[in-house]
């Protein structure tokens, strides 16, 4: 897509090493507002690490990440200010165990965004309604199913009005029958114009929801393009082999 605006996210030649192991090798891409980028690839290819680098949960070893015009420096004291703009949904939900669904959604609004209790409550109730959990307002995470917990986690991230949402295999820890209730919420977000980077193994979902797909293998971007192209007519042998292996079971 041609756009004169600066991309929301610029990833420039980033490198990440864990000791002697290189897990990200010169990764570069841009992401425009309202784009939904899906990253696919075998486990260990660096997808999750890439996502974690983009909000500073991992420190990059080289290159640069620019979000909304600001350089991300994980060592900076102000890294939490950039993180306000970047929501992250975890594979294992990571809801705060000692807080109810609504408190999970309110806490960061109040202490980070300095919203009043009334305002935070209104936002939280509205979001719980959107993710279909209006009846679970005062329920603790331990009493929610995986799918419900993940929907609360999405609401919690949305409450911070993020410009970008990062989703790290958000359905991988779920029982199969709970996957669709979470993916339906994500589809609604995509339709609503939310900018997202999604790491997933759900290929049908990826094809349906993405505006662009990146295939990663062995720490590198192997191929990138429109979902129709990647899934129907991949150019690289490695992409073909991966798709065959994942679709055959």
């Amino acid at each position: 897509m041609e756009s004169n605006d600066t991309p929301l996210l610029q990833v420039r030649d980033i490198v990440k090493n864990f000791g002697a192991l290189r897990v990200l090798d010169n990764i570069s891409f841009d992401l425009n507002i309202s784009e939904v980028l899906t990253i696919i690839g075998p486990s260990g290819s660096g997808k999750t690490t890439l996502l974690r680098c983009i909000n500073g949960l991992e420190k990059i070893s080289g290159g640069e990440i620019i979000i909304d015009g600001e350089h991300l420096n994980p060592n900076s004291k102000d890294v939490h200010k950039i993180r306000e703009k970047v929501g992250f949904i975890f594979q294992k939900f990571n809801l705060f165990n000692h807080k109810t669904a609504i408190e999970n959604i309110k806490i960061a609004q109040k202490i980070v965004k300095k919203r009043s209790d009334k305002e935070a409550t209104e936002v939280a109730l509205q979001l719980l309604k959107i993710v279909g959990l209006s009846d679970k307002v005062n329920t603790y995470p331990a009493q929610l199913s995986g799918g419900q917990q993940q929907r609360v986690a999405i609401a919690r991230a949305l409450a911070m009005d993020p410009k970008l949402l990062l989703m790290d295999e958000i359905t991988s820890a779920l029982d199969p029958e709970l996957v669709s209730e979470v993916l339906d919420v994500v589809k609604q977000l995509a339709i609503g114009g939310m900018t997202m980077i999604i790491v997933t193994h759900e290929m049908r979902f990826a094809r349906e929801v993405s505006s662009r797909v990146i295939f990663m293998d062995d720490a590198k971007i192997v191929e990138e393009g429109k979902p129709e192209k990647i899934f129907s007519a991949p150019e690289q042998e490695r992409t073909k082999a991966f798709l065959v292996s994942i679709l055959s079971h």
């Binding site: 939490h80 165990n97 911070m160």
Partner: protein, 179 residues
């Protein structure tokens, strides 16, 4: 400090904890009682000795209890706090610390119960606590069984009340977190 990333602190506190946990409390009390006057050049009262000895002992154990509490909080909780834009202090204050309490409180109470009973040892260095007082009473009344029975009952009541309170607190946490 045992969770500290700074190596020197980590090593020093490791040595401290292992010495205190690896030696009997009675020996530590004797070492403080006979050792401190040599270092300082003058004698110190039994109360001060008992206070210093028990403090050294308690810090080592409580430090380990707090450490275990902090380490029990899943890294995912901290990452979620960070990802929502919380700074380190907010992350600790609102997310990590409240979740350590259900583990720290019962363990700390258990330790204090043991400590109250162990405090009878300070009678050995001449401090007038419950056990030593009882010896004086026995010397006057010549009724060791009755006196020791009463003393044991006092220890029991104090410890029993503490463990009951701790149990209530634990139950509260369980209800609170919906377990």
């Amino acid at each position: 400090m045992r969770t500290s990333k700074i190596r020197v602190f980590n090593t020093l506190s490791w040595i401290y904890v292992y010495i205190i946990r690896g030696t009997p409390l009675l020996m530590q009390l004797f070492l403080v009682y006979y050792g401190l006057p040599i270092l300082l050049g003058y004698a110190i009262p039994a109360f001060t000795t008992a206070l210093i000895g028990l403090t050294l002992y308690a810090t080592a154990y409580l430090g380990e209890i707090v450490k275990a509490g902090l380490q029990s909080v899943d890294i995912g909780q901290k990452e979620a706090a960070k990802a929502l834009g919380m700074n380190t202090i907010q992350e600790f204050r609102y997310i990590v610390f409240p979740q350590t309490l259900p583990l720290i409180i019962p363990n700390a109470v258990g330790f204090f119960i043991a400590l109250i009973k162990d405090s009878s040892l300070v009678s050995a260095i001449g401090f007038m606590e419950l056990t030593r007082s009882s010896k004086l009473v026995i010397a006057r009344t010549f009724q060791p069984f009755t006196v020791y029975a009463v003393v044991a009952l006092i220890y029991f009541i104090v410890c029993y009340v503490m463990s009951k309170v701790s149990q209530k607190v634990e139950e509260r946490f369980d209800i609170l977190y919906g377990k």
